[in-house]
């Protein structure tokens, strides 16, 4: 992984998040490093259960019992978020780092109107609201209307007074994005923001995210299953497998020259240049249980290129050009 620079917004090092379960300690995230530069979009891909959501919930400090962050540093603008107290962390959430959740159907409060749920985000972070009570209310309302309009919800004025159950799944997804973007955060963590949307709306939402990114210099972490979305919108990509990062690098490099057998498997026989709409290909075999994993490559049992040299802990290896992969076969190529 490349070294942090002053352009670095978020740097996660050695993150380890575990869940205590009846069967033992599940190590959902095991030694994950992440770097997000200012203004860039980082794509995060990996099969279901590979630890994508848990990684970024950890960054937000939203891991709940029976889970806990066991180790690691989460540096955001030079501050270690793990060292902040609850109040300080609350000021970071929403204001500096906003998040949209994976499941739009359950992420909005059924008992509050959409308008209330946008307004409270603005109230909590109070970015440039007027001070008078009425002026303030009007400003919040105007801003909420604008945000709903931006994510493509028709007649936003009337929609503000409605409850989540009156919206379709795709609309709720967009409302969640409107809420997240309302406070103009420095980093947006979007957990599968387009999964529930049809292609047109999907393009619209991604465009909105990209536009806001450009306008605010916002950084984006885009968790997705859609490799086409990664190819089109992400500067860099990070591939996760069984709680670890197995490969990361510039999007073009990773897609054109995948180093890790798992990444190669994901890309499969996809026509590389038309990835739009391509879901991750299923690979034969299963993700290992994340309890008491042996000291060996986690992809071993499913790997086509495995050998005896894989039966030890594998470190990330430099493949040149800032691309790294967790495989013994990786060799540094000459920079081209």
């Amino acid at each position: 992984m490349s070294a942090p620079t002053d352009k670095t917004l978020l740097q996660v090092e050695g993150l380890r998040t575990v869940f205590e379960t009846r069967d033992g300690t599940v190590c959902a995230v095991d030694g994950v490093d992440v770097i997000v530069e200012r203004g860039e979009c980082l794509g995060v891909v990996g099969e279901s259960g590979s630890g994508k959501s848990v990684t970024f919930n950890s960054v937000m400090g939203l891991v709940r019992s029976p889970g806990r962050i066991e180790a690691g540093r989460i540096m955001f603008e030079g501050r270690d978020l793990r060292a902040l107290n609850q109040t300080e962390m609350r000021a970071v959430r929403g204001r500096d780092i906003a998040m949209t959740m994976q499941d739009a159907m359950t992420a909005l409060n059924p008992a509050l109107t959409v308008g209330e749920q946008i307004a409270e985000m603005l109230e909590a972070h109070d970015k440039g609201l007027p001070s008078g009570r009425n002026a303030r209310r009007r400003a919040i309302r105007a801003h909420s209307v604008k945000m709903l309009g931006l994510v493509g919800i028709a007649s936003p004025e009337t929609r503000l007074g409605q409850y989540p159950h009156e919206f379709s799944g795709g609309m709720r997804q967009r409302i969640m994005i409107a809420i997240a973007l309302a406070s103009m955060p420095k980093l947006l963590i979007a957990d599968e923001p387009t999964t529930a949307l049809d292609v047109t709306i999907q393009a619209q939402v991604l465009e909105l995210i990209t536009d806001t990114r450009a306008k605010l210099g916002m950084s984006v972490v885009l968790i997705t299953h859609d490799l086409g979305v990664v190819a089109e919108h992400c500067d860099r990509v990070m591939v996760m497998y069984a709680g670890q990062v197995v490969e990361q690098g510039r999007t073009a490099d990773v897609i054109m020259r995948p180093k890790h057998p798992y990444t190669k498997g994901l890309l499969g026989s996809l026509p590389r240049l038309s990835l739009r709409g391509q879901r991750i290909e299923p690979i034969e075999g299963q993700v290992p249980e994340l309890i008491d994993l042996p000291a060996q490559c986690r992809f071993y049992s499913r790997c086509r290129e495995r050998g005896p040299e894989c039966l030890k802990n594998i470190e990330m290896r430099d493949a040149g050009n800032g691309q790294t992969a967790r495989c013994v076969r990786v060799q540094k190529e000459l920079a081209t």
Binding site: M60, L62, R90, V92, M101, A107, P110, E120
Partner: protein, 335 residues
């Protein structure tokens, strides 16, 4: 909730109420032997009175005719004579009802204001000492027999410490001209603060005794539902917005968590009305419950009939009300 749906639900009550009245009617009709003789028992009555009772019960007419007569009269509030009180049943009941309503209301309020904060606290501090204490407490609350707990309170506060009266609804010195017939309100309306506290000191023990099982149940319901709600995605999302802890707990969590609590409270209010027979008897509370117990002992069937019908109708109506309340509180449920 649309009006049409509301009316539909209201119409659904009719068969239930009809069934209830059949059962209540059968109480007398199916009693073996001569109901009039049974009702008279060893009381001394004149032959005219006995004849009047027979006429009241309409025992000389066919059964279906008697049922419809009963139903027709019941709808008009005519349940015959309380032969024991020598007055119409409905008048006797009307006289006793306010005491029962007042007791039930105070019990309900005590239950709500203790159960909800305790349930929320137990959920937030899950598995803490306080949570365990509340769990044990609520287990005791539902399982302790009311008469036993009531007597325990009397022995402690009335007999031993002598800080609360043993029984009754208000002292002689505090009697006032009624307005609403709810003494706690009337004493205040009449500006009699001393009488208010007198009434309060009388009602406190029976209300706690009556409300105890409900408190226990509501606390469990609130705790469980709060824990359930706190696991939801929308709570995580609310936290991800950086909202304050109070906002997350009270605006996002409690609002949803109270939906089951409120419905259960509405339904349980029915058992509050039914449960007060024992409590009213233990505390000598001059309400409907004690009247029913007394009436059973003197075989005052018309009064028991009327009271049972009243309990059943109230219970059914409260269930109906709980349903309506649930749909109002829960915007997800579209009826």
């Amino acid at each position: 909730m649309s009006l049409a749906r509301f009316v539909e639900r209201l119409l659904q009550l009719i068969p239930v109420l009809l069934g209830v009245s059949v059962i209540v009617f059968a109480m007398i009709t199916l009693t073996p032997g001569d109901p009039v003789q049974i009702m008279i028992g060893d009381q001394i009555v004149t032959p005219e009175q006995e004849a009047a009772m027979r006429r009241d019960l309409g025992l000389d007419r066919p059964i279906h005719e008697r049922f419809f007569a009963f139903l027709g009269n019941a709808v008009q509030g005519d349940f015959g004579q309380s032969f024991y009180h020598r007055r119409p049943v409905i008048d006797v009941i009307k006289e006793r009802l306010p005491a029962t309503i007042e007791l039930s209301l105070v019990a309900l309020i005590i239950a709500l204001v203790t159960a909800i904060p305790l349930g929320v606290l137990a959920a937030i501090k899950r598995n803490s000492f306080l949570d365990r204490l509340a769990t044990v407490g609520s287990l005791l609350g539902v399982s302790l027999p009311g008469f036993w707990f009531g007597i325990l309170l009397i022995m402690l506060f009335a007999v031993h410490l002598q800080i609360l009266p043993v029984s009754g609804r208000i002292g002689y010195a505090s009697e006032i001209e009624p307005i609403t017939h709810l003494l706690l309100i009337d004493t205040l309306l009449r500006g009699r603060v001393d009488a208010f506290f007198d009434a309060l000191s009388h009602i406190i023990m029976p209300a706690i005794t009556l409300g105890l099982p409900m408190t226990a149940i509501l606390m469990r319901v609130t705790r469980t539902s709060m824990l359930e709600v706190m696991r939801q995605d929308y709570i995580t999302f609310a936290e991800a917005k950086g909202l304050s802890r109070q906002k997350v707990l009270f605006r996002h969590a409690l609002k949803n968590a109270l939906i089951p609590t409120v419905s259960v409270a509405a339904i349980e209010t029915g058992s509050l009305l039914g449960g007060n027979m024992i409590v009213e008897t233990v505390f000598g509370w001059p309400g409907l419950g004690r009247l029913v117990v007394e009436s059973i002992f003197v075989r005052n069937y018309p009064l028991v009939q009327a009271a049972v019908l009243f309990y059943a109708v109230t219970y059914v109506m409260l269930n109906f009300f709980a349903d309506i309340l649930y749909t109002i509180l829960n915007p997800r449920v579209k009826l």
